[in-house]
């Protein structure tokens, strides 16, 4: 057999029945073994271990100068090591790379090496992937029965498969986010929709965060729609949406929940006066005429608000109902204004709440014809 770099030596080429023949057999079967004499000096090493030490001194060097015994912590005298024959040793090479190795020691049988000596077989532990690269090992450096090469194959194959999976997951996640965004968005205005609002309110209730809820209904929107057409109506809704976004903070929620109905959720707000300021400023801006096709559209807005902090255990259905009640009060008092919910209005709420306290939230967007019902006392 032709000797190649890193190839194993041929047991048949050494004298029979000798320690040398045993060492040659070990070179083939356990190319990472090390033989120690009774004093703990290395006397022979397998070809792969030789390759790993490269130019560094190996033969004749005491075991404890070559390796650090990490576990068990028993010291590195030959008697101590012999006491732990047959148990797993955790070793670290005293070299720049500090390679971690597993080891197993057995006493040398008479005639197989120096009397009182020991044989240690070594292998890479979990560091195998790095070590094979660092030492430039090839499949010839491992015994054919060693699973190291299969393990390297598996690591590489799994990495490739994981990469493919990850790229699929990223694409799916992107598609999911886009689909969710679509499901939670009002297509006309780009605002959140009813579904998004319900979701947001449920999260706020779970987290027990305080917030203000303002229910806004446009005044005179129906007449814009009727007299100037749906295109004008749609334009007004988009302008109204833009103004609402401008008048709120980025982490507030602005949702269009019906034809001309909107709900604002203002996070962390607990001050009645501030809510009134925000609602009033918003109404003032919405009263400004909106240009469309060379003509002016005139709308206004009525608003009813409620604070979650007014309730020890805010019930979302009740809060929505109270905001709605306040909105009715605003409509009744002449529109174009904001009314905060107060206990005086409570009577009407209690009348509307069923005995078990459960009221279906209005799920379907209210058509703009409901404007007429709301325009009470106009």
């Amino acid at each position: 057999m032709k000797m190649q770099e890193g190839a194993l030596s041929d047991p048949a080429s050494v004298p029979a029945g000798s320690a040398a023949q045993f060492a040659a057999m070990m070179d083939v079967l356990c190319p990472m073994h090390l033989m120690l004499d009774a004093a703990g000096r290395s006397v022979h090493a397998g070809p792969t271990l030789m390759k790993m030490f490269d130019a560094a001194p190996l033969i004749g060097v005491p075991f404890h100068d070559l390796f650090e015994l990490r576990r068990p912590q028993i010291g590195m005298s030959v008697p101590a090591l012999m006491d732990h024959a047959g148990t797993k040793l955790h070793l670290r090479m005293r070299s720049a790379l500090q390679t971690e190795l597993k080891g197993m020691l057995v006493p040398l049988a008479p005639g197989t090496g120096p009397a009182g000596g020991a044989l240690i077989d070594l292998s890479f532990g979990i560091s195998v992937v790095d070590s094979v690269r660092e030492y430039g090992l090839t499949s010839r450096d491992f015994s054919a029965t060693d699973l190291t090469v299969e393990m390297l194959y598996l690591v590489e194959a799994k990495t490739a498969a994981m990469d493919a999976s990850r790229s699929l997951n990223q694409r799916l996640q992107g598609a999911m986010i886009a689909a969710e965004e679509k499901a939670y968005t009002d297509t006309l205005t780009g605002l959140r929709n009813r579904r998004a609002l319900d979701y947001m309110l449920d999260r706020l209730a779970e987290a027990e965060h305080d917030f203000a809820l303002i229910h806004i209904d446009l005044d005179y929107f129906k007449s814009v729609n009727d007299s100037m057409g749906h295109a004008a109506g749609d334009h007004v809704l988009r302008e109204v949406a833009r103004i609402m976004i401008e008048e709120t903070r980025s982490d507030d929620t602005v949702a269009r929940v019906g034809g001309d109905e909107f709900v604002l959720v203002l996070k962390r707000l607990t001050d009645r006066c501030r809510v009134h300021d925000i609602a009033s400023r918003l109404i003032a801006r919405l009263k400004q005429p909106i240009a469309f096709g060379g003509r002016m559209c005139h709308v206004s807005a009525s608003a009813g608000s409620v604070l979650s902090c007014d309730h020890p255990h805010p019930d979302m259905t009740r809060l929505m109902l109270e905001a709605d009640t306040a909105l009715y009060a605003a409509k009744r008092s002449g529109r174009g204004c904001h009314v905060a919910f107060t206990a005086d209005l409570n009577q009407s709420v209690d009348g509307l709440m069923p005995a078990d306290g459960v009221v279906e939230r209005r799920a379907a967007p209210r058509s703009s014809s409901s404007d007429a019902e709301k325009d009470v006392g106009a």
Binding site: S139, E156, A157, A160
Partner: protein
């Protein structure tokens, strides 16, 4: 069919003939998407339709195309990962041939639902082998011919390969090794692919 196989066909076409041809092939196959996902499963008919469309778009016999796909999988730089995985089969081409029987199991180890055709190597002495390929669809043998020819090159071995047609349920590939290491093949380092 596993998406990995459809994806391999896609990459072969795109890297060899360009995106436009690939788009034409997919439309000709009646598919309204342009990319396969390697990690999804597709109906076997999809693969069949894509290969038929490919044959008519390129105006080439399907077996030639299949052989080119096999060659592409080993020799194109964009699929280096696969070449490396194949090279784990053994340090020489002969040892690789001896590991052919394990190839489907090796693939399953990486991707459990990837089903490759069964391969069986028979030795006739003096460097003469036959590989029996049993897949669910005919034509796999041509892919294997292209793959083995490119791998022999990769190992630096000189081999003559020939598809001998079907025998029973198997496609038979004749392999004659003329020289195990006639030239230096491409380098393969065990430990570079994972860092």
């Amino acid at each position: 069919m596993h998406g990995m196989i459809n994806r391999a066909i896609e990459r072969f076409v795109r890297d060899t003939y360009g995106r436009d041809i690939w788009g034409t092939v997919m439309r000709r196959a009646g598919l309204d998407y342009s990319e396969f996902e390697a990690m999804l499963t597709y109906d076997a008919k999809v693969t069949h339709d894509v290969l038929s469309a490919l044959g008519s778009v390129l105006d080439r016999p399907q077996q030639d195309i299949l052989e080119d796909i096999g060659t592409y999988l080993v020799s194109h730089p964009k699929v280096e990962a696969l070449r490396r995985l194949l090279r784990f089969g053994g340090p020489t081409f002969t040892e690789f041939l001896h590991s052919l029987d394990d190839l489907p199991a090796r693939a399953r180890l990486a991707v459990p639902d990837l089903v490759l055709p069964d391969l069986e190597l028979r030795e006739h002495g003096s460097g003469h082998f036959s590989a029996f390929c049993r897949g669910q669809t005919a034509g796999w043998g041509h892919v294997v011919v292209g793959l083995l020819r490119a791998l022999a090159d990769d190992y630096g071995a000189l081999a003559v390969l020939e598809h001998k047609g079907a025998r029973g349920d198997a496609e038979v590939i004749d392999i004659q090794l003329l020289a195990v290491e006639h030239a230096s093949g491409r380098r393969f380092d065990l430990g570079v692919g994972t860092g």
